[in-house]
Each structure stands twice: as structure tokens, then as C-alpha cells.
Amino acid sequence: MSKTITIDGKTIPFEEGQTIMDAASAAGVYIPHLCHHPDYSPHGSCKLCNVSVNGRICSSCTFPAMDGQTVLSDTHELNEDRRRITQMLFVEGNHLCPGCEKSGNCQLQAVGYHLNMLDNHFPHFYASREMDASHPDVLIDHNRCIFCTLCVRASQQADGKDVFAISGRGINKHLIVNSQSGLLKDTDFEATDNAAHICPTGAILAKRQGFRVPIGRRTYDHKEIDQVSLAESGYRPNTTLIAETEQSQYDE
């Protein structure tokens, strides 16, 4: 007999070695997340995917599924905390959606909508952060970095490079790149790198792509992040949905 866990009362099978997130995604259960991506090793830092496992709060993207676990995820209490955590990310950086090219394709924004976030709640930090537009094809806007390390992992694990790292401590965390000048142009980074397309926010953007896809026709303009995310992680409820979402904006 296969092993199972329950998430919000739904019985879900899993295979040995799967995390709670893996098992949930495979079964079509969306757990909000920002630093997780099915192609890369889990990180467990954004804490949006925190769930209650037998009464204890755990990151579902890193915590292994074990037979008989009772997992709570889509509860009022957890979603309230997720909204607050998302608001923390919004006030920590400078996220001005109307002026951001990523708007509509942005996971941070989409998660905000998904969690019914209507304001920033907390006072802003107004962090003074810089832009690195040195690279011919890609720019980094540090104002929008949420330290999810997806670019760090994509560069290491998919591109076989080591372009990015997160440096600093506490509220002074920041993204750094692997060059003596500290500029992206002096690294071995290329626009075709996986790391160039992985950023969940508008911190790493391809140049000369602005408004190629008009506002209103972007990924999250017509779909909620839960559908898109499940499709990305391989869940196949119906084929039309997948066909639509797999077409990345940057492939055009």
C-alpha cells in the first residue's frame, strides 16, 4: 500500500524522498511560495509555504513527507500570516508595481493578489538600493530583490556557473555578483542562462523586452498563481492550461 499524508483533509499519496510541497503539487494542491522552484534544490527561506505538520510549523518545500502526517495549509490563520510575510517583502524593498516591467508576470505581485493583500500594512523601509545596468542584455534592479536565491541556485545548478550570491546579514542582505568590479558585465553571465529567467520579481530583467507583451496579456493577468504554479510543477488537470502557461514571455 502506498504511503499517504493528508493536506487540509485531502488524502495525498507520496513517494519516499518527496517533500510535502512535492507531494502537494503532484496532487494538485497549491501551497503559496516564492523561493521554491521544482527544478532546483529547495531553500526554505521565504516562509510563505509554512504549513502546520501535526501541529508544528514547517516549511513544506524542505520538510519530508512522512506516512500519516496531518498537514494544514489553506487555513485562515496560515493565510493571514502569509499575507503579512508578503507585506514584509513589499516594505523591505521598493516594489512599485505600476512602474515595473515585471508587473503581470511577477510572482510576488501574483502571490499578493492570491492572498488578498490590499495594502502594505507595515511601515516602509525605503531602502537605498542600486541598479546594475552594466550588462548588455540583462539588468539587475536591487530594489526588487527578495533574496529567494533562485538566481544563485539556477546559476550553480543549471548553468554550471557561480554568478550570484547573497551577502550581508539581517536587514542588510543583498545580492552580489562574481566579478572584481562587482558589476554583472564583468561576470560570465549570459542572457541565455537559466538564471536570467528565474527571478520571481523584477530584480533580474532582460533588456529591450519592455512591453513586448502588453499589460493585460501577461501570465497572471488572466490566471491565478495557483494554476500557473501547479502547471509548472507538472500537475496535469487538463491540457489546455499547460499549453498556455508553458509559453514563456521571453521565448517570443
Binding site: M88, V91, E92, F122, N172
Partner: protein, 624 residues
Amino acid sequence: MKQSIQNLAKKYDHQSTHLLQILREIQAIHHFVPEEAIDALVELLHIPRTRIISVIEFYSFLHLSPRGNYELLISDSITDHMSGKKELTHYLSKQLNVAVGSVREDGVVSLDNTSCTGLCDQGPAGLINGYPLTRLDRPRIDCIADLINQQKPLTEWPSELFQVNDNLIKSGLLLEHTIAPGEALKETFKRGLQETLAEINQSGLRGRGGAGYSTGWKWHLCYEGPEEDAFCDVDAQNQLQRYVICNADEGEPGTFKDRVLLNSFADQVFEGMTLCAVITGASKGFLYLRGEYLFLYDKLQSQLAERRQSGLLGNNILGQGFCFDIEICLGAGAYICGEESALIESLEGKPGIPRNRPPYPVTQGYLGKPTVVNNVETFLAATAIALHGGEWFAKIGTEKSKGSKILSICGDCTQPGIYEFPFGTNLKTILAECGADDVLGIQIGGPSGTFVSNQELDRTLAFEDLATGGSFIIFNSRRNILDIVHNFTHFFAHESCGFCTPCRVGTSLLAKQIDKIVEGHGSAGDVVALEELCQIIKKQSHCGLGQTAANPVLTTLERYPELYQSQLKKISYEPGFDLDGALETARRLANRNDAGAHLAQTDASGSLPIASFPPSLAVAEDHE
């Protein structure tokens, strides 16, 4: 410089696991880590420069830009504040002509604050180029300022400036009798390894860092190793590399017991580590010594050398065929490294960021191998138990907290220092012993622990009631609770590693919110907002730091709600900044300072919202 970096890299076998140790040495020579050194290390250690920079920027004692030849740091612990730290720092800053947080123009001296230095029984304290300065007062500061201005090398400074006293006031079960080096090991070999582990289990010894995990069980799990190795044959099992780590990164403000244990009982600690090694099958041990205890380093090294000489460490311990040796690694100013998985990351030469668990260190610790991490006091106790037996230990204490606890007592009492009490002792007894009267409250277990009021003095020291890693800070009735909370809250914001959102952003938001309330800008909803924020940080954070960072607020809010409420203005909303202060630049530009150039935040009674525009602008007021 290149040559010296090459020599350093060679000294550490070109191992990137020793990056932190290498960077510490570079910082000690140059008072920062120069660009050239980073370039050289990229080549020598075969690591990306981002790795080196992220380590430098993580640890408080490492810098990318030059500090002074005399790097002067003043401890920011609450007890230092209670003994006049603020005024003394101001004086010091004036005498040396250098602002806090900066380097003097001539590059000779830099001055800054640092988290608790573990000298709360002899503060106000500081560090100069990593070495402790104790009992600071004006005459001492005059002396220090003179020595710096004359640019006298530290070796020529009067030794009393650096004098660190043990202040061991009350010994109990463990500290009463000294154990000769090797005595417990010999007893262990005589009795048998599994039999000794059984004694440790029987003793009921639980981790002394505060979390209280069963020591015997931890050793047993490490010996067993990961599940996939459990069924391999005995030979393969014995080949499995294991590690023993002694956590001497006591960074909890108010704790200093490990400083004393390592100064006067180090042999017994090393013996405990060796016992653990022979029982679990580890061949390598580390003492992770907090950077603030650099002054103990040479002495500890010579004690290790002596133990090697006497056959208590090395290739054939006491002729029994066991191999084990201990290396001392220094931290570099990061409280988070007291968390065991962050400590392991740090030992691997990385920023001290707590790992995701499972896997736990007992199955996958240092370099992915089974690792025991225990507190200094735990190893000390294990040695005594191996010699005297489990029952000797278990007959003292309470049902769930066997044996004794060594406390670092400081704050408002006549005799701050080290005290050993049986578990189960009540607070009244402890307070009487250290000469504390007129007590307002006690911070037990440091900022991450609990604030206990003077109404709770019948409570006891035990895992069942008040668990503590050893920090015990006493406050008398003249102390302001909000000042204490303010200090602790800023401490956590400063020490958060920044890995997870709730702690990284939450602790900084909490510091802001406390500032707002303490500075008198709080309004009706602000205490509710404060508590909600605390709950999120506590519930959702990645590790113990975040999960306890809100404790100073939560434990005092629970006991003194009226105190918080009294700070609030009776209006529904107050901005978190000073409106009138924001006009200062405009006043300077306009060269005005009359009443009309000022803006009050509330009316005189404090009961109305912002309605007091200067008369010249008060057109809208009539509508109210």
C-alpha cells in the same frame, strides 16, 4: 601581501573550510580584508569571490573597508548600559576624537558598539583588537586614550586593563571537585564504552545550552549514524567519519559561564569531548570558541598540547587504540552561530545560516557526517558522570532536570559571577545568595528567555519551569522595563542572519515599532500591532533566534500591559516620525525659529489628532 596570504592558506592546508579562520587572521593584521587578499584567496582556495565577500559581510568582526589600527569596540549588553556605558562611550569618543561607528581621520583608531562580550560581571567592557577590556571607568578610559594616542603596542599596555576575573562565587556538584586529566577516561575504559553511555543515560543529563535534549540519546544517535548506514557491517560502520563539536559560542547576552569553564576547567571539557568521541566513534573534534574569547585561545592550545603529550589525545589514546584530536576554531562576532547548524556552517567556512532540518546534525552534520554538538557545560558534566556514575548525578535536581545548573548572574546584585545550583532551586534562594534586593524582575535565559517579575520568585530553575542556558540578569526597581526591551529587541534585529523573511524583516520592524512606542509616538493601535507582529515572528521564523526574538516584548507585555499602554497617545493614529523634527532643515534654510515655524504633533492635552498647524497656516482648523 601575496606571500603572506600564501603562507596563511598553506597553514590551513588550502582548505576552504578554514576560510573564516584565514579571514580572521587577515583582519587582525590589516584591520580589514584588502581586495588583494580576496583575489589571492580566490586562486588559493579555489572558491568564488562571492563566497569570500559573503563571509566577510556576515561576521561583525570582519570588514571590507579599513578600521583603525586600534579597533575599539564597546559592549552593548544591557548590563553595560546599566553601569553607565552610554556616558562612558560618549566620554571615550571625546577623548579619542572619534565618533561611534567611524574611523579617526589618521586611521589610528576606530570606535563602535558590539554585542555582549561575555563580561557582564565586570563591565562596562569592551574589546581592543579582539582582546577584552574590563571594568571601564573614566580613569581607565583616560589611560586607554593616552596609550592609543601614543600608539603603544598592546603588548606594552598595563595588564590590569585586560584582567578578566573568574568570579566563581558558588560551587556545587560539578565545580566543587576538580578531576585530574585522564581520570574519567581511565574509568570509562575500565567500565566499558557502552556501559559508560548507559551511565550518561542514567544520569538524565540534558543539553546545557538551554534546549535540553538528552545527551546520552544524542550520542547514541550519532553512533548509529544515518538510517542508510545502520545496516552496514561493523567494519564499515567503524569507518564512518564522525565529529564532536563543543559549542563555546556563548553569545546570549548576560552569559559568561563558558568563559570561566574554559579558563579554569578546560581539561574537564576536553575530556568530555574525548569521551564522546570514543563512545560515538569520532576521530575529530572542534572547539568553536566565540571570537570574543580570543584571550583564552593560547592557553587552550597549550592545554591541548599537554593532553597530547600525556596520551589523552592523538593516535592511541591511553594505549587503547582510539584516535581523536581537537582543533580550536574562532568565531567572528555572530550570535546566530550559537545555533548548532549555523555553527556547523561557520566551521565549514561559510556564513552562519541555520540549516533546514531534518536532517539533523547527529546524522548529517559537519561536512554531511554524523556530528554531536554539545555545550561546554554538557561536556564538563559528562566527564564528571563518567567518573562518578549516573546515579551520583541523578540524585540531585528534579524529576525532569537532573543535576545542577551553572548560572552567570549579573545586573543589580552585590556579587555578580558564577553560581552553581541544583536544579529545582527557587529564585528567592538564588537572589538571596547573590545579594539582590529591591528586585523588579529577572531576565532568565537572556533576551531569548523569559522576563520574570518580582511576583514570581517562588518559581524554580528547571526545564519544567524556567529553562536557561545560564544567563540570569537582575533588575532593581529603578530600571525601566521599556529600556530593557528596547535593548534586547535591537540586539535581535542586529543579530538576525537574514535568511528567512519573518525574522529578517520582522525583527527590524519590531525594533522600529518599539522605538516608536518608547519615543512616545505610539498611538492606540500600536500595541495591538506590536503583539501581532511578535506572534508572526515567533510562529513563522526558521530557527530559534527568530522564534525567541519577540520574547522580550511578549513576556513583558504579558506582565506589564499598562506600562505599554501608558506610553501611547490617546489618538487613533500617530506617524512613526517626528513632524516637528522633519521641519528642522526648512527652519535652518528660512532662518526662523519662532513659534510659527514649529509644528506640534498633538494639542496640549495630547488627546486630539494633529490639529495644531502654526497660526499662519491654520485656515483649515476652523472646520473641525
